[in-house]
């Protein structure tokens, strides 16, 4: 302890205190404040950038999901549209077919009607002709039959017979 105190120099302690205090104040103003500020600023910047990157990534992710959804929707819409179109086409074809059928039926029935009418007319005509021909024949036959008296009587008898029998 004695030698410890003996070694203690008041002057050295005084200078040391002055110099250290001076160094402390100078470094505070010219070194530590700017250095610590820069370091803190940089750290803040780095963490900010990292955060931003993270945020951007998340945004990208949501955007990607959104895109996917959009794509899905578009695809579904397209499918629906195709389906719709097909259906429309089908119904149109069906409609057309139906209409055509109806039209054809109409045409057919018209044709049939016309044919029937023609047929009826033709038959009627035929009938009249056959009738006239028959009458002519009958006239001729009658003329032949009626040429002689016998024959007239026979015929008349026969006819009467026929009527009687009825």
């Amino acid at each position: 302890m004695e030698s410890l105190l003996g070694e203690f120099s008041v002057g050295l302690a005084f200078w040391q205190a002055m110099l250290f205090l001076g160094l402390l104040l100078l470094l505070r103003k010219f070194a530590w404040k700017p250095i610590l500020n820069s370091v803190n600023e940089r750290e803040a910047k780095i963490s900010e950038s990292l955060e931003l990157a993270e945020k951007t990534r998340a945004e990208m992710e949501t955007m990607k999901a959104q895109n996917e959804n959009l794509l899905k929707e578009a695809r579904a819409e397209r499918d629906a549209m195709i389906k719709d179109t097909k259906e429309t086409v089908n119904t149109m074809i069906e409609d057309a077919k139906g209409k055509a059928r109806v039209e054809a039926d109409k045409v057919q029935s018209l044709a049939r009607d016309a044919f029937t009418a023609e047929k009826v007319a033709a038959i009627a005509e035929l009938k009249t002709q056959v009738a006239s021909i028959s009458i002519e024949i009958a006239e001729k036959v009658l003329r032949g039959e009626l040429a002689s008296q016998d024959k007239q009587t026979t015929l008349a008898n026969k006819l009467v017979e026929d009527i009687n029998m009825n």
Binding site: S9, L12, F14, Q16, F20, L27, F30
Partner: protein, 372 residues
């Protein structure tokens, strides 16, 4: 600045080699002409040599030869307070051989303890006798002026302060060109961040550490670089001086007391959570602790650095003490090894001082939310 720093590190690493070459100049004194010295005398001389190199000095000696009687170095101003101011250069003492007259007073340098004593014109040291009233014992003490000289340690500290100022200012300036560290900042910045993240924040706290950072950083680099200066072969021993460590410990002590929150005083004078008799008993214990903390800081740094210097000095002296070449070689190797260890100690002691300072600041700044 970065180059200068590198230079200092290289010099510190090479110091065993350089130290040996410096002492090689003094070889004749240890060599053949002094063969008649007995081993005891030799031992005493070596002890003197080691002691001398751990002491502060009034001149900046670089190389000296006792054999040749010459010294290489430069004088430093001597400033004495003895009823008035006395200023002269230390060269006036002529290494303790001459009595210096200044404003009517006479002073002489004692080369053994490196102190300046008041003398009469013939160089006889003036004494003062004091009688202890209780024991009637008379103690005779030499008269000493108060010494405010720019000694070797003060001069070295001045240079170091300038160096640190320019170094850290250049580091601070380098951030102006961009946020990424360039030049010396690449070396300094990790240490600054280490002190902040590993020393300040864990011990003081996220919020309170900011106002202590200036002191912690300054004290760390101050001690570390002065420790490294002590590794150079110039025989500088600033941090191994009790006055220096006393001042540093005092700074820590006063900053702790002046920034202390209510809780800190509460824990000293009225310890919460213990019974009242214990509270009263704890007061003196806590008060002793208050003083012991800076005292331990002071002694730890002082003793570690001084011990390192003494060991290195002794090992270097041993190189010359033994005549056998293998012994010389062995001690040279050991000196080199010790130098590497001392480089580690230089950083370690700076770290420990800063660490404990932060711990004390932490207790001062702590705010306890709940009662214990």
């Amino acid at each position: 600045m970065y180059r200068l720093l590198r230079f200092i590190l290289v010099v510190a690493l090479l110091s065993p080699v350089l130290t040996s070459s410096v002492f090689a100049n003094a070889e004749p004194h240890h060599g053949a002409p002094n063969k008649e010295l007995t081993p005891e005398e030799k031992r005493e001389k070596n002890t003197e040599f080691v002691k001398h190199h751990t002491h502060d000095s009034h001149s900046f000696g670089i190389v000296s030869s006792e054999e040749g009687g010459w010294h290489l170095g430069f004088p430093l101003p001597v400033i004495l307070w003895d009823g008035g101011l006395h200023v002269f250069m230390s060269s006036a003492f002529e290494h303790g051989e001459k009595v210096v007259e200044s404003n009517g007073n006479y002073y002489k340098l004692d080369t053994h303890d490196g102190k300046i004593y008041k003398t009469d014109e013939h160089g006889t040291v003036m004494t003062k006798s004091t009688v202890d009233e209780k024991t009637d014992e008379e103690t005779i003490s030499k008269l000493k002026p108060i010494d405010f000289s720019i000694t070797k340690n003060v001069f070295t500290t001045m240079l170091m302060c300038l160096f640190l100022f320019f170094l850290f200012r250049s580091v601070a300036k380098s951030y102006k060109s961009g946020l990424a560290p360039t030049g010396a900042a690449k070396f300094i910045e990790p240490i600054v961040i280490f002190i902040r993240d590993e020393i300040a924040i864990p011990n003081i706290g996220e919020k309170a550490h900011k106002k202590y950072m200036v002191y912690l950083l300054t004290v760390f680099f101050f001690i570390w670089f002065l420790n490294l200066m002590g590794m150079t072969p110039l025989g500088i021993n600033v941090t191994g001086n009790i006055a220096v460590t006393f001042v540093l410990a005092m700074f820590t002590f006063f900053i702790t007391q002046f920034t202390a929150k209510k809780d800190y005083w509460m824990h000293i004078f009225w310890m919460p959570g213990v019974p009242v008799p214990m509270k009263i008993m704890l007061i003196p214990i806590e008060l002793i602790g208050l003083v012991v903390k800076p005292f331990a800081l002071m002694i730890r740094l002082y003793a570690n650095m001084l011990a390192g210097h003494i060991v290195l000095g002794a090992l270097i002296a041993a190189v010359y003490f033994f005549d056998a070449y293998f012994a010389k070689a062995a001690f040279l190797g050991l000196t080199f090894f010790m130098n590497i260890i001392e480089l580690l100690v230089a950083a370690l002691q700076a770290y420990i001082f800063t660490m404990l300072t932060a711990l004390y600041f932490g207790s001062a700044a702590a705010v306890h939310e709940e009662a214990h």
